[in-house]
């Protein structure tokens, strides 16, 4: 069964290549749908497949750049990308990312990279999951209250409305973001992009996991625009990240290209699925994904403190990541195919009349 393994020329490890393609399809679907690179699954996924952590981070960022390019093009056609907002956030993202990437090299030198990255993952994921479900719960409460008073909740109503507080900041220059429908100080998206870029650089992710909820809850974008604009940012930060990590010698292009074969198909499916699923449906699925990811990272962290159960934890983490990717990909793909089938049927019916 040697043909199922390919030797990675830089890191010198042999990798199960069908695993790379399957991982690529799964994260392609999820990334195109949620507006993120999917590094929170790919980095542990690559680590599980046998890549050292620093190579897992770099390789993931390299494949993410190509995949998010495909998704951005697709979302752009749907009108989901606010390019003006994306360009404003670009500087903060790049500066923040470089600071974060320098930090990860320093952590690697002092031998703390694994433990610091995993603890940061856990804290961030817990915060994001709480935020998403608090938002969903609050919106449901509002819905019930509106029904009790005999009315109906506005389609554009949201649960958490922190963005309204941030929109009160009137530090010039003020910007009008037409696609997102927002008028705010330019410093709000700049600050958000720097912070998310910095975290992205440290965690070795495109930043979508943090930026997508930040765009919704702090900047105030509608979900679909947050997804599309975020992918635009992931594409840029992914390309920049791929350049810096490649220059530092931490990218396996062969693995990135194998993953891209699967991710290209998955990204299209995920992006088209946003056509058929409502904004809050995306948010709930996103929250579930974050919880799944959180549990898998906990499994990877436990052996740092209880080394004797490392093997059990590794197996559990592997199954968990694969389980989360499979369930979410299936949910998104099934909804996409159902929606597409209905659209094609409707088209045929209207042509028959």
């Amino acid at each position: 069964m040697d043909w199922l393994y390919v030797l990675m020329p830089i890191s010198g490890v042999s990798i199960f290549w069908p695993g790379l393609i399957i991982l690529g399809i799964g994260v392609g679907i999820i990334g195109g749908f949620f507006g993120m690179g999917g590094a929170w699954m790919v980095t542990p996924g690559l680590n599980i497949l046998g890549f050292p952590m620093a190579f897992a981070i770099g390789t993931d960022i390299a494949h993410m750049a190509g995949k998010s390019l495909i998704s951005t093009l697709r979302h752009g056609k749907f009108g989901n990308v606010d390019y003006k907002l994306g360009m404003i956030m670009l500087v903060g993202t790049v500066v923040g990312f470089e600071v974060g990437a320098q930090m990860i090299m320093w952590l690697e030198r002092i031998g703390q990279v694994n433990i610091v990255v995993r603890w940061m993952y856990i804290i961030l994921l817990a915060l994001i999951a709480w935020m998403v479900f608090a938002d969903v719960a609050k919106r449901r409460r509002k819905e019930k209250e509106a029904l009790a008073s005999g009315g109906e909740l506005d389609k554009l109503a949201t649960g958490l409305e922190w963005h309204k507080t941030f929109h009160k900041i009137k530090i010039p220059p003020m910007v009008h973001l037409e696609v997102a429908g927002i008028y705010c100080s330019a410093w709000v998206p700049i600050f958000v992009s720097f912070l998310t870029g910095w975290l992205a650089g440290i965690l070795g992710i495109g930043g979508g996991l943090i930026r997508m909820p930040s765009l919704i809850y702090i900047v105030g974008c509608p979900t679909h625009v947050a997804v599309g604009t975020d992918l635009f940012e992931v594409m840029i930060s992914g390309l920049y990240g791929a350049a810096t990590y490649t220059y530092k010698g931490r990218v396996e292009l062969i693995a990135a290209l194998i993953m891209l074969v699967g991710a290209a198909v998955g990204a299209q499916v995920g992006a088209v699925a946003t056509k058929y699923i409502k904004g809050y449906g995306i948010r709930v699925a996103f929250g579930c994904a974050v919880i799944g990811c959180l549990i898998s990272v906990v499994f990877k962290l436990i052996p740092q403190y209880v080394p004797e159960i490392k093997r059990t934890c590794d197996v559990l983490a592997t199954w968990f990541v694969l389980g989360v990717v499979t369930i979410l990909s299936l949910y998104i793909a099934v909804n996409m195919f159902k929606g597409a089938a209905a659209e094609v049927r409707a088209k045929k019916a209207s042509m028959g009349k």
Binding site: L7, G66, I70, R109, G249, Q268, K278
Partner: protein
């Protein structure tokens, strides 16, 4: 407005607390950087060429990577466009507009 300024100042303090960590990260500390050299003895053909490029110049290696990734991405995206358009999915409009 006063509450808002308190929040902004709090945020500013938080960022200033992060700055020393950032400066330390950029400085790189005293340890020698980790240098990984590709072992080309087991490799042949394109893989050997690729690994040699990595060993000889990280600059050329980076430039090649940054060109290859978007080109391959665009190629796959174009192919998927052709397939989806053939199926009959409208790839230019989205009806849903809610949050």
């Amino acid at each position: 407005m006063r509450k808002l300024w308190t929040k902004v100042l709090g945020l500013g303090t938080f960022i200033s607390l992060l700055l020393p960590a950032m400066a330390l990260a950029a400085g790189g500390g005293g340890a020698a950087p980790v240098v990984i050299v590709s072992d080309t003895r087991k490799l042949g053909g394109a893989f050997a060429w690729w690994a040699n490029l990595y060993n000889e110049s990280h600059v050329y290696f980076t430039i090649a990577t940054i060109i290859i990734i978007p080109v391959v991405g665009c190629l796959f995206g174009f192919l998927a466009d052709v397939v989806m358009a053939h199926i009959g999915i409208d790839l230019e409009h989205r009806d849903l507009a809610e949050h």
